[in-house]
Amino acid sequence: MRSVAEGLRLLGAVVLGAVTALLGLVLLPPALPLARRPAVREAARRLAVLEARRLRLDPAALGLGAARPDGQELRYLAARLPLGVLGGLTAALLGCGLAVAGTLVWHWGRGLPVDGMLPTAPLLAYAALGGTVLLFLDLSGLVGVHALERRLALRMLAPDPTEALRRRITELAESRAGVLAAVDAERRRIERDLHDGLQQRLVALSMLAGRARRGRPELLAQVHEQAQQALAELREVAWRAYPSALDALGLADALAGMAERAGIPVKVVCELSARPPAAVETVSYFVASEAVTNAAKHSGATAVTVEVREHGTMIAVNVHDDGMGGADPAGGGLSGLARRVAALDGGFTVTSPPGGPTVIRAELPCG
């Protein structure tokens, strides 16, 4: 069943290719003299993207994300015209064969002659054998045309290995700089946590102790209470810097701990069959925790859901809240997360239309 569907899809792709080739025969000659115009280039790019989709190739991997300065798309569209026509002819032959076979079955089934011939045993054997061979040849032709089209597209559009490597190096350099920036931002936040929170508390505490010593012994109870609060704050700061539960107990427990501290109701769903690599766990945790912190602080959300699931070799972290949206992906916290995720070659998206809801999603490859 599946191979039949696949075969029909391939036939469809080849027929479609023939149609676009015929259109191309009409449109390309008048477009060629204007090949340098941006509008023409953009149109060529879009057509090439359609061709790539028809051939089940990734347009982005073929460098079709934006109009290419070398104008290669137009050249490709011209080069594939003969193949498209060939595909059309092959498909037409299949149509003719099926029509002949249909006619034979229709007439002979009713005992009527075709071209004055009635179905005798040798004639039936001849027709069945010949028909099968022709059908096989034509189907092979269709597969061949499709394969040729794919090869042509890859050959003409796919970046050469050096270019691909160069692009990868740029990507790596960017993500490395991003990680450094994210680390610095993190340190700045910890410094602020220490100075604006804990230090103030300790100074206030010492001052209180000083007042107690200067003749107000009744303040000692307050001294004790503030010392407890300072310790609690220290625990919070340490947890925000790095939750030690992550190493010891794993992502699910660390997320549960984060949910308890969040200050708004957080539902955690963590469905993993095995522990992902430590780096993936850490990034997953910080994506969830930063998203929850943002939701609690800025969105006015009353409930947040954190979902961590496996998709093949990927781990997907999904955080959505029922707040009023408008989160800025370029803001400090979220851009830091994007950099962390990029460093692991993951994907990171923030959807936060005004009025909400906000959905933050990270996909991280594992191994």
Binding site: D196, Q199, V203, L208, G210, R211
Partner: protein, 214 residues
Amino acid sequence: MRVILAEDSTLLREGLVRLLEEEGHEVLAAVGDGEALVGAVEAEEPDVVVVDVRMPPTHTDEGLRAALEIRRRRPHVKVLVLSQYVEKKYATELMSGNVDGVGYLLKDRVAQVSDFLDALERVGAGGAAFDPEVVRQLLARTSHADPLARLTGREREVLELMAQGLTNASIAQSLHVSQSAVEKHVNALFDKLSLSHTAGYSRRVLAVLRYLGS
């Protein structure tokens, strides 16, 4: 003294208000940012302002900006600045312009209640109060290393205490020597640093600090 406080941590602000009131000072206003401070000073005419360097909205140096603004608009208002770190730049900015009644303390010093209150008194009386840490770092980082190297150990100690704003009498007390001995050291070190002899104590302090900070 009539005091205005600017400190963004509520806990610390409340503690400071209580402390100052218990010590018999009048707290005219306690605010949480630089802009509110400048406004309160215009409205209330305090004797002294105690201001935290790092306050909203940017949490960098708005307290210092506000302090400098107050010094410019109301030169007779004394200013005691509290800072998380020793910042040579902040110290030198405070020392430029009119220099009587200026103090620069590390925030932790507030915890040593009596030191903090002494510093506040000194600033309120038109003197100077510089954190020992500030002085030590300025001495360590000074670009005039050679003349300092000519000072004896005792003269160096005297210089540090003098730079914190202490009078000769207080220096004598904390070093357990006679006041005349201190005066002798002071004259000797002024000669070695080629500083002119000036009468006012804070001017003396600032002469030293400026020399070190330049």
